[in-house]
């Protein structure tokens, strides 16, 4: 190999190798030409269905902590393509395409991550490079063994040498770094090297408050994992675009397996569990559904470990829905935007190419694609596009079926947004009904005993109040189909109320099929959240039979009583500042968190959390917390200061032992390590900031920044006592 210039990166070398192999003549490569020259292309391109660089699978530890564009949720969200919009971007997920293609009976390229095939095929230790088309191609392995494609590169000057292939494979397994530094070698993975690329003086400036920390643009759960915290289930409106897209990608992939509904990777597998096993109308209702969501969420996390189920805080939509539910006009309700439907330009192009639509209809669709307007039901979308909702009689079944036009549009809508569902007409059920308000929820939370709140025991079973409200919201979100029964002209003698197309009511209203509607999961997440909140308020109130088993799971009610043991908590929204624990903080300043207006309008509780504060041999310190006070210092008064949140005092003391005894402990990675929290594990602090935030809002502030000042026990500034990994500002409903 040629000697590499010191300043060039491994990626530069990869490009150089491939350029040299290719020589002067570059074939088309399906329009991408020299696809390796731009990292964004190289990492995502599929050449004739073969992904050149395989995506990292869940569990690949290669790039979680790298400041890389596509890793985690980092990178400028402005550059992230709206993946629902851009089909080529989403094509990474074969599932999305598969949802729209006829089930072939054979899964297309498997979208679900796994540990590799069994039977010695690939072995559990298969590396990312082994799965990457470029490596298979350079090696001349199937399908680049001439059976489908010739070896890569095509029409090239020469073949790659073994050492060149090895170099590129290593680069892929290192996470395709583009930086010139060598990173991620085992010895450098330690905490102190985390931000090695940031200049030391930059860190110092941040640690003394001269520079302000920026709010992290990573997904909440990415930050939570980095700080070894619980996952967060957020209100669906506060998910970032990336967070909601991750959920959509996972569902798209699950839909791909729906022909195999006994495969737990298929969405229908999970939806059917409700059909067969759900518990309603007694004390197991809440515990059973908590586990149902937990196991479904675990499956989603197999696909992408940073996904949690969002919740749909019904009461937030009460203003809009007071009239839509309390009416006899159908299909008027408002649901969270993430679950609505809209049309993209690419989808429009495909509709146009179908030749099914008239000029007028195309004009209507084009206008919707241009505006990007979202609709609470497919029916309302069709109305807006001036396309009649047409039904035909399915000649095979004799039942009503969507016309080709409707079906084509619905297919596209579901492709764009896998959270949307066609059999959904949110709103009234002819007879006016009451939509739950915040006051109603608070009434619920004030109930003092289990059976009134959550349902009676086996020998005295009855519905609890929370479940009753939940029932109403099932009906609201499913609603009633204004086009049922189908027109008499179709001569459908016996309309089937269980029809999969054009049923009388939305599927959310029917407990047999409700979980097939993706909004089910957000709805129940909210039920679970209200229960969790009620548990906080009534920590000692328990159901009668704590040992009741909750089939199909082999867990009992007592296993369900703590969401924290199940690994999550509920938050309206969470704002995180990453901090470097390689330098001691005397002062922590932050930029404004960019708290969303409706979060500030509706939050119940706010807190500030300090993540992973180091203990070993640290001086005890007082940490004073302020909001919107960048100039706060040790001299800033804390009495009668509306910016002052509160203070905490650490209690560390000295540490003594052999060399290295007081170092940070190892990460807990061993399967059978049942020891409890390590003595030197960095600890977390949290301070209630609800009132302080309110004071800021009352002052007319519209956003919040967080400021910490470290003060020694002598009341003077201290600059060698405080090391931590992050600060977060959290809002709870």
């Amino acid at each position: 190999m040629k000697k590499t210039e010191k300043s060039s990166s491994a990626y530069d070398r990869v490009k150089q190798i491939l350029n040299d192999i290719q020589g002067d003549r570059v074939p088309d490569y399906q329009g991408y030409k020299a696809f390796w020259l731009a990292i964004e292309t190289f990492e995502t391109v599929e050449l004739y269905g073969q992904r050149m660089i395989s995506p990292p699978i869940s569990g690949d530890n290669t790039d979680n902590n790298l400041p890389k564009k596509k890793s985690c949720c980092g990178g400028s969200s402005g550059e992230e393509p709206n993946e629902g919009e851009d089909r080529s971007a989403i094509a990474e997920d074969d599932a999305v395409q598969a949802v729209n293609t006829e089930p072939s009976g054979h899964a297309d390229p498997d979208c679900w991550p796994s540990g590799g095939s069994t039977g010695g095929g690939a072995g559990g230790g298969e590396k990312r490079s082994d799965r990457s088309g470029i490596i298979k191609g350079l090696k001349g392995e199937y399908p680049f063994d001439g059976s489908i494609f010739p070896p890569l590169l095509w029409d090239a000057k020469r073949r790659a040498t073994a050492s060149e292939i090895q170099f590129i494979a290593q680069w892929i397994d290192d996470g395709c770094p583009t930086e010139s530094e060598s990173i991620n070698t085992e010895s450098e993975k330690s905490l102190s090297a985390k931000n090695i690329s940031v200049e030391r003086n930059e860190l110092v400036a941040l640690a003394c408050g001269e520079k302000a920390h920026k709010v992290s643009n990573k997904c909440s759960n990415v930050n939570r994992k980095a700080n070894k915290g619980l996952n967060v289930r957020k209100e669906v409106s506060t998910l970032t675009d990336t967070e909601v897209q991750r959920l959509r990608n996972a569902l798209s992939c699950m839909y791909q397996y729906n022909d195999h509904w006994m495969d737990e990777r298929s969405f229908d597998y999970w939806a059917r569990i409700h059909t067969n096993s759900c518990q309603h109308g007694w004390e197991q209702f809440l515990p059973w559904h908590r586990l149902y969501l937990y196991f479904f969420e675990q499956t989603l996390q197999d696909y992408d470990e940073y996904i949690t189920l969002p919740y749909w805080s019904w009461a937030d939509y009460a203003d809009a829905n007071t009239r839509t539910f309390n009416t006899n006009k159908l299909d008027q309700g408002v649901i969270p935007e993430a679950y609505r439907c809209w049309l993209t330009q690419k989808a429009y192009n495909r509709l146009e190419a179908s030749n099914l639509f008239s000029e007028k209809e195309l004009a209507g669709l084009q206008a919707l694609a241009k505006s990007g307007a979202t609709f609470n039901s497919g029916l309302r979308f069709l109305k807006a596009a001036c396309i009649p909702y047409q039904l035909i009689k399915n000649p095979d079944t004799g039942k009503a079926a969507w016309s080709d036009k409707t079906r084509l549009i619905y297919n596209e809508l579901r492709l764009i947004n896998p959270l949307w569902f066609p059999n959904r007409w949110p709103g009234a059920m002819v007879s006016p009904m009451h939509y739950p308000t915040k006051a109603n929820i608070n009434q619920l939370l004030s109930i003092k005993n289990w059976s009134d709140f959550a349902g009676g025991p086996e020998n005295d079973h009855h519905f609890g109040k929370l479940e009753e409200v939940h029932n109403g919201m099932h009906n609201f979100s499913g609603g009633q189909n204004p086009h049922y029964p189908p027109p008499k002209s179709l001569k459908i003698l016996d309309p089937d109320i269980q029809n999969t197309e054009n049923p009388p009511y939305g599927w959310m209203t029917d407990n047999r099929i409700t979980a097939y509607d993706p909004i089910f999961w957000a709805h129940h997440s909210n039920v679970d959240r209200i229960w969790a909140r009620w548990q906080e308020l009534h920590p000692d109130v328990k159901p009668e039979d704590m040992d009741g088993v909750l089939p199909p799971w082999s867990l009992s009610i007592k296993d369900t009583l703590s969401v924290k043991k199940l690994g999550y908590e509920y938050m309206r929204d969470s704002y995180h500042y990453e901090a470097s624990s390689s330098v001691s903080f005397s002062k922590f300043n932050s930029e404004k968190a960019g708290v969303k207006g409706d979060v500030l309008d509706t939050y119940r509780k706010a807190d500030i959390r300090l993540h992973r504060v180091q203990l070993g041999n640290m001086f005890n310190t007082t940490i004073r917390m302020f909001l919107n006070a960048p100039d706060a210092s040790a001299d800033t008064p804390i009495v009668d200061n509306e910016h002052f949140v509160g203070e905490i005092t650490t209690f560390h003391g000295t540490c003594y032992g052999g060399p290295g005894h007081c170092n940070l402990p190892l990460d807990k990675t061993r399967q059978f390590d049942r020891r409890s929290l390590h003595h030197h594990e960095p600890r977390n602090y949290r301070v209630d900031a609800s009132d302080a935030v309110r004071r800021m809002l009352a002052k007319g502030e519209e956003d919040i920044s967080v400021h910490l000042v470290a003060v020694g026990l002598d009341g003077k500034p201290i600059d060698n006592a405080l090391f931590f990994d992050g600060v977060s500002l959290n809002f709870m409903d």
Binding site: R25, P27, D28, Y29, Q30, G31, Y32, Y48, G49, Q50, R87, S88, A91, S104, G105, H106, D108, P109, S117, G121, Y142, P143, S147, I148, F149, P150, W154, D155, A353, N355
Partner: protein, 730 residues
């Protein structure tokens, strides 16, 4: 040391009848002209490539059709996973199996090839076989299935209906042999009666050997096109005519390699002694030869070639190309069924690989480019003026548009490809004439005809009907992938440095497998009613020992098998596909005499009377209430031309002018086939045209233009009515 693997290529050779002494070699590339050779069959080369023939007939006599020889060669392979191999040489040294005597274990020795003993045994079993009745018999014959020459029921007499000249062996020492009467002392030959007329049959062909560039080769020549009847010669059916014989044939081709090796032994004093000895070894993988009628348009490809039909069979039944059809992950390791049980499992699990990307010029374009050529052999109804096969810019089959895969996520030709795919007849649509629901934007009532608009395996009756031709499942899978944008344009990707990227067959084949497939690509692969050179029996996986290889049966001299009902009378051998094929077992399914069927294979008016015609009233045709007839559906425009151009390209004429399209014409064809013209081509690509040459006007008269009314020639539409009557019309 393990002995080398030897195979004869092509796996199935094709010789063609001719009445001239002169002959040429079978083409080995799709749509290529035959190859010039000298009188020993040595290929004549020009600039390093085979020289192509200039004329199909004798220079001085337009009634003398040259024969096409089938040439065989032997390839040596390192082992079973060697797929390339190379042709053996006289003087070449290979690992040979040595069977010294019964007491010695089999040894492997280094052997130097000195000679090849080729053995071929062809026969014609047509007259001894069953009647051809469309698709019946495809899955085994019923015990009451009618026989040809049904009055001959005594097994020994029935055996006399087989033309069996016995095997012939040739080598460099004894380089010629004839499959002729009296040429096989010690073999109980059977030949037709001497008095059959119009033409007696006393030979099925001959063998020659030659050595070219040290490569030993076998040349097989078939019959002379003689057909005759032992009765008053009349033709009563396109396919079954009692009393008739023709000199078509087929049979196994085997070879034994003669070699020298050095044996080391020790004399009584313990001194090493080297002795050169001679040994012989049978080529492990033998071949087959088939004789067909002349290929009058050798450069025009059939809509489905026999290679394509067989490829589909092996792909879907024999794990031939697991990357295309197999068990995921479609790699060879997962797709090597070795036993019958494993094959059953494999057949249950295997399917087309959704990740397979066909290559445009290899897999797609050949299908799309052929129909346009048929306007030179067939008077197209252009459906109101437009040319449905237009390959020009903006045409349905515009190569520039259709060859572009999605590029950088853009796919402007998606709809165009989908349209083409949608009008292709799918499996299960064999009895539909028009597409269902493939409406156009401007005209929702537009129902295009399904393609190819050619006859199927049984367009004649409503019993087990198979009215129209559908491309093979493999071809349809290629087209589906292509329509969905899953294909590669070789020229854009890895062929840019090659002038031939758009023609994978531009150069003569160098691998044995490519020779096998190249030869078969010039034979007809459907429809089979009964077919061209061969019939639907070739679509039965049981007749093959491995892809492209006909399974050889063991049989007794003079005791070739007879139809089971006759054979069972005295315990004579009856056919058993599981045991393999005997001489004559492939061509016996074809019409007798071949001239009758060949002449009638022009058009067919196809009765698609009513929706449920295959469920009730099987024999009902022509129901006046709802009768729907697809008119003038051609059979095989590339095999049996109908309307052709003369060289000036100014006017179209009936190719068979002078031979009326009726049973009398069929009889006339028994002699007139040799006077008909061949079609040559000029130009390339979209401007390539075909025109008639070497027609013997002195025998057939001046050719007649469509529309002209002359003695013995009426217009095409009228002439086509009632083509291919079935047996009931006898």
């Amino acid at each position: 040391m393990k002995e080398n693997l030897f195979k004869i290529h092509p796996a199935i050779g094709i010789a063609r009848l001719g009445n001239s002494e002169d002959f040429y070699l079978s083409p080995e590339q799709p749509g290529a002209l035959p190859i010039e050779c000298d009188s020993d069959g040595v290929e004549i080369r020009e600039k390093g490539k085979p020289k192509r023939i200039q004329s199909f007939k004798d220079e001085s006599d337009l009634s003398k059709v040259k024969r096409q020889a089938a040439r065989f060669r032997i390839f040596v392979y390192e082992n079973e996973s060697d797929l390339v191999g190379k042709e053996i040489k006289i003087g070449g040294v290979y690992n040979m199996q040595l069977v010294a005597n019964a007491a010695t274990v089999v040894q492997t020795v280094k052997g130097t090839v000195t000679d090849i003993q080729w053995t071929v045994h062809v026969a014609n079993k047509k007259a001894s076989w069953y009647d051809f009745t469309e698709n019946s018999g495809m899955h085994g014959y019923a015990s009451d299935h009618p026989l040809r020459n049904p009055e001959v029921t005594e097994p020994a007499l029935r055996r006399q209906l087989i033309i069996d000249p016995g095997p012939q062996t040739v080598s460099s020492k004894n380089s010629c042999a004839k499959f002729s009467k009296g040429q096989n002392p010690g073999y109980p030959q059977t030949f037709p009666p001497v008095n059959i007329s119009p033409n007696p049959i006393d030979t099925l062909g001959e063998l020659k050997t030659n050595v070219q560039d040290d490569h030993p080769r076998l040349i097989f020549l078939g019959g002379n096109g003689n057909s005759g009847s032992s009765k008053t010669p009349v033709i009563t059916s396109f396919v079954n005519n009692d009393g008739w014989f023709d000199d078509i044939s087929d049979g196994p081709v085997t070879a034994s390699i003669i070699y020298n090796y050095t044996q080391e032994s020790y004399d009584k004093k313990g001194k090493k002694v080297k002795t050169v000895k001679s040994g012989s070894m049978d080529v492990q993988i033998p071949a087959w030869v088939v004789v067909g009628y002349p290929r009058y348009v050798p450069q025009m490809m059939d809509m489905i070639t026999l290679d394509e039909a067989m490829f589909d069979l092996f792909v879907r039944n024999k794990a031939y190309q697991p990357q295309l059809f197999g068990v995921p992950p479609f790699e060879p390791e997962n797709n090597q069924p070795k036993s019958e049980q494993e094959l059953d499992l494999w057949l249950n699990e295997a399917h087309f690989n959704p990740g397979f990307y066909p290559q445009f010029y290899r897999d797609i374009w050949p299908i799309l480019t052929r129909p346009d050529c048929y306007r030179y052999t067939y008077d197209f109804d252009y459906f109101g003026g437009a040319d449905p096969h237009n390959r020009g810019t903006g045409g349905n089959l515009d190569m520039n548009a259709l060859s572009k895969p999605p590029s950088h996520g853009d796919d402007p030709n998606f709809e165009h490809r989908q349209f083409i795919y949608n009008i292709m007849r799918k499996s299960g649509q064999e009895n539909l004439f028009t597409a269902e629901g493939a409406a156009s934007k401007s005209n929702p009532n537009y129902k295009p005809r399904l393609m190819p608009m050619l006859c199927g395996n049984n367009p004649i009756t409503n019993i087990s009907p198979d009215k129209f031709l559908a491309m093979t499942p493999t071809q349809l899978f290629f087209l589906k992938q292509w329509a969905d944008g899953k294909f590669v344009n070789e020229c854009q990707e890895w062929g840019e440095g090659s002038n031939n990227c758009n023609d994978p067959w531009a150069n003569p084949p160098v691998t044995g497998e490519a020779i096998d497939r190249g030869v078969l690509s010039n034979m007809l692969g459907g429809a089979f009613c009964p077919g061209g050179e061969l019939s639907w029996i070739m679509m039965n996986p049981a007749v093959y020992s491995e892809p492209y290889r006909v399974k050889h049966a063991v049989y007794q001299a003079g005791l070739l098998s007879l139809p089971a009902p006759i054979a069972n009378l005295d315990g004579s051998p009856a056919p058993d596909l599981a045991k393999g094929m005997e001489p004559g077992d492939l061509t016996k399914y074809i019409g007798i005499p071949w001239q009758a069927d060949f002449h009638e294979c022009t058009y067919q008016n196809i009765d698609i009377t009513y929706d449920n015609w295959n469920n009730i009233e099987l024999d009902s045709t022509g129901d006046p209430a709802k009768q729907k007839i697809a008119y003038n559906i051609p059979w095989w425009p590339a095999h049996r031309p109908i309307v052709v151009y003369d060289k000036s390209m100014s006017s179209q004429v009936y190719w068979a002018s002078g031979i009326p399209p009726n049973l009398s014409g069929d009889l006339q064809m028994v002699e007139a086939w040799k006077d008909l013209g061949f079609l040559a081509s000029s130009g390339t690509g979209i401007t390539r045209s075909f025109y008639q040459v070497e027609r013997n006007n002195s025998a057939l008269g001046e050719p007649v233009k469509p529309g002209d009314r002359q003695l013995g020639q009426v217009t095409g539409v009228q002439s086509s009515v009632g083509k291919k009557r079935d047996r009931n019309d006898r």
